[in-house]
């Protein structure tokens, strides 16, 4: 069975850019799932278990940090690796907060496919 990824971002543009960057980085996924916020992601994860999750932090309804908390509390999904993709990657406290909540890494926008591969590749 092929690999699958869940991309969480309230911007449809960003979801397309992340998907394109994954392909450009040589990271092929048979299934690409998309959610507009943390709650929509949890709804998807109730039925599907992707190999990796890529998530924005600053989102309406449920942001990326709250999503990490909820995910960590659910034994059925807590081991799926999450990489945060955020404009606030330069902020050390935001990165630390994400890591303390279980994020495996952080990609700062703007990013190149090589940077995406460097952080996400080893987690697959």
């Amino acid at each position: 069975m092929g690999r699958s990824v869940l991309i969480i971002d309230d911007s449809s543009t960003m979801r397309k850019i992340v998907n394109r960057s994954l392909r450009q980085a040589g990271l092929e996924f048979e299934t690409v799932l998309e959610a507009g916020d943390g709650q929509a992601a949890l709804d998807i994860l109730a039925n599907q278990k992707p190999d990796i999750i890529l998530s924005d932090i600053n989102m309406p309804t449920m942001d990326g940090l709250e999503f990490l908390k909820r995910k960590a509390a659910d034994p059925s999904i807590k081991n799926i690796p999450v990489v945060m993709i955020t404009t606030e990657g330069g902020s050390a406290d935001m990165v630390e907060q994400s890591r303390s909540l279980g994020a495996s890494g952080c990609v700062k926008k703007p990013f190149t496919p090589d940077q995406v591969n460097e952080i996400i590749g080893p987690l697959l």
């Binding site: 850019i17 404009t87 606030e88 926008k109």
Partner: protein
């Protein structure tokens, strides 16, 4: 702090990395611009230790051209894709400038982006603010990036 060089640096990085287009900065404006025609303005607010906002003002045809470059698809009208793409660009610009805004340790939060589009509109900052507006040129035309902060007392 003079933000002109920071705005130019982050704008070039974002446009050249994420959209893969060359962008040429111009000379910062000496007079504030608040009236726009056939344009789109995407804005992100700063709140907390420092308050203000960042705005990306683009003529409609430039917004459509940049979205086309961003998404790699034909864009012939202002639609949700254009609004989303311009909002995301403003978000990345504000996020990239944030570390330079909160250099002295104060916590600054970003709002979600908001986008205005219309045939003719006026945008006004209610409180007196310090501002810098930098014009840029891409192959589709010109656009402005405006950074404003409430005056510190």
């Amino acid at each position: 702090m003079d933000f002109t060089e920071k705005i130019i640096a982050v704008t070039k990085e974002i446009f050249e990395t994420m959209i893969m287009v060359d962008v040429t900065p111009g000379i910062p404006l000496e007079e504030h611009v608040s009236k726009f025609r056939c344009s789109m303005s995407a804005m992100v607010g700063f709140a907390g230790y420092k308050q203000g906002n960042l705005a990306l003002h683009t003529p409609a045809k430039v917004a459509m051209g940049l979205t086309q470059d961003f998404l790699g698809m034909d864009i012939n009208e202002i639609n949700a894709d254009v609004e989303d793409a311009m909002g995301e660009l403003a978000n990345m610009l504000a996020g990239s400038l944030k570390p330079f805004i909160s250099t002295d340790g104060g916590k600054v939060e970003l709002s979600l982006p908001s986008v205005v589009y219309g045939e003719e509109y006026t945008l006004t900052v209610v409180n007196k603010a310090d501002w810098v507006i930098v014009p840029f040129t891409v192959s589709h035309g010109d656009f402005l990036i405006c950074l404003e902060f409430k005056k510190q007392h």
